[in-house]
């Protein structure tokens, strides 16, 4: 991948993240609509290496914090990053970094590759939730236990569903990109 192509490809990934954050699908069981932000994160982890995926997330967050409405529901600004839920956003960078490095060891056409991918993605997202929770503790001045009850426990079933739904999807995206651009992906 040439340097210029790397720049443009990562930029497109950022643009797709921005669009995914705006697409909300209502879910009957939850008051919070399902945005495709997590799908974007998982796809970035699967198709890029650690350097590019974490760079994509960093650029996405910077773009949002300079005031471009790219965060979920058209939110923007440094205020979102400094606010109580900002930890999840910079958790994206950590998750992308760790997820991509782990997924690099899951080769195509090996046994149980999708199962291994699930484990890698779940671990990466757990790192993101930890960032979110610790940030929540710091900003809201509450203990770890309360933060866990408020920010993680209610959403856990939905998050497991997201991992189950989006990991195979990301794998399919990688396969079709590989077919189109065999030299790069």
């Amino acid at each position: 991948m040439s340097k210029t192509y790397r720049i443009t490809a990562v930029a497109m990934m950022v643009a797709i993240m921005a669009i995914f954050a705006q697409i909300a699908i209502p879910i009957p069981i939850s008051p919070v609509p399902l945005t495709l932000q997590t799908a974007g994160l998982i796809i970035a982890m699967v198709i890029f290496n650690w350097r590019e995926s974490s760079l994509a997330m960093l650029v996405y967050i910077l773009l949002g914090s300079v005031g471009v409405p790219v965060f979920s529901a058209g939110k923007a600004g440094l205020a979102v990053l400094a606010g109580p839920t900002g930890g999840y956003l910079y958790g994206f960078i950590a998750a992308a970094l760790i997820g991509s490095s782990l997924l690099a060891h899951v080769r195509a056409n090996t046994k149980h590759r999708l199962f291994k991918a699930y484990i890698c993605v779940a671990f990466a997202l757990a790192v993101m939730f930890c960032c979110g929770m610790l940030h929540f503790c710091l900003i809201m001045h509450v203990g770890l236990k309360e933060a866990f009850m408020l920010t993680i426990l209610p959403y856990l079933p939905l998050d497991i569903l997201k991992i189950a739904a989006f990991t195979p999807l990301a794998w399919k995206v990688k396969q079709s990109l590989h077919k189109q651009y065999p030299k790069i992906f």
Partner: protein, 267 residues
């Protein structure tokens, strides 16, 4: 629509004192203010920081409704912070009901933490109201450039931000077109369980990615044909000039930061 408001972002154009300052000074000052908020632990200090916030709202000459828009989403969190701190901090009990106790320490801590969150988000809102996204992007590029030595390419990041900004409306339109095309072929995006819906998205996401990376390839070729070879040494159309008032502004916030540390140590 996403394309219309994307370039302006949350920016409120004006010619106030704060708007005229260099974006780099404002970014650094905002970070100093936000970190200092976590250092102080005294009511007098919180009062001082609140006064500074109000003064800067007046200096920025932005309508209060715009600040309010930025603060509205966190109000519920401010409330949670206040209530949780009321009940969770032990000390001299002034009111109790069953297992719930409110203490004097909890009361003061709760209000202080609520105020801290309010000021944190409020001051950050002020930054994006007084700097345009392009000014802030330039400022980030300049501020990140020392990190190039440890492998963080500041100018590449700024270039990626500009490209992403340019392509969000285009790819958004493309997404809508693909979704309509799949709907015409009988796809349903608002029925069935989560797994079913995710499967319905596959025929949208795959063409979107293929199209996006085709555009990336074309753009990279076009850039290289015009001799783009990385960002080092590129010149700018609009130059940000660092003036004396920017230095003064930054010094003011450095002094505030130092004062907060001294206040915490000896206060």
């Amino acid at each position: 629509m996403i394309g219309d408001k994307i370039l302006i972002g949350k920016f409120y154009p004006s010619n106030s004192y704060l708007h005229r300052l260099d974006a780099r000074a404002k970014v650094m000052a905002t970070f100093l203010y936000m970190i200092a908020l976590f250092i102080i632990n005294d009511w007098l200090a919180y009062a001082l920081f609140s006064v500074i916030f109000v003064v800067f709202i007046l200096l920025a000459k932005v309508p209060l409704s715009m600040i309010w828009q930025g603060l509205k989403p966190v109000l519920v969190f401010v409330l949670i912070t206040v209530v949780l701190n009321f009940f969770l901090i032990s000390g001299d009990v002034i009111w109790s009901w069953g297992v719930l106790h409110i203490t004097t320490q909890g009361l003061s801590q709760g209000f202080a933490m609520g105020l801290r969150l309010f000021l944190l988000v409020g001051f950050a809102t002020l930054l994006t109201l007084t700097c345009s996204p392009l000014e802030l992007t330039d400022a980030i590029e300049k501020l990140l450039s020392p990190f190039a030595r440890i492998g963080l390419p500041a100018n590449e990041i700024a270039m990626m931000m500009s490209i992403a900004l340019r392509f969000i409306p285009i790819l958004f339109e493309e997404t809508n077109r693909i979704m309509l095309a799949q709907k015409a072929r009988g796809a349903t995006f608002s029925q069935g369980g989560v797994l079913h819906r995710a499967r319905q998205l596959l025929p949208v996401i795959v063409p979107l990615f293929v199209a996006a990376f085709r555009r990336a390839e074309e753009l990279a070729e076009a850039m290289e044909a015009r001799c783009y070879h990385g960002g080092v040494g590129r010149t700018k159309w609009k130059l940000a000039v660092w003036k004396t008032q920017d230095s003064l502004y930054l010094c003011g916030f450095l002094a505030l930061f130092a004062l907060s540390i001294l206040w915490r140590v000896w206060g």
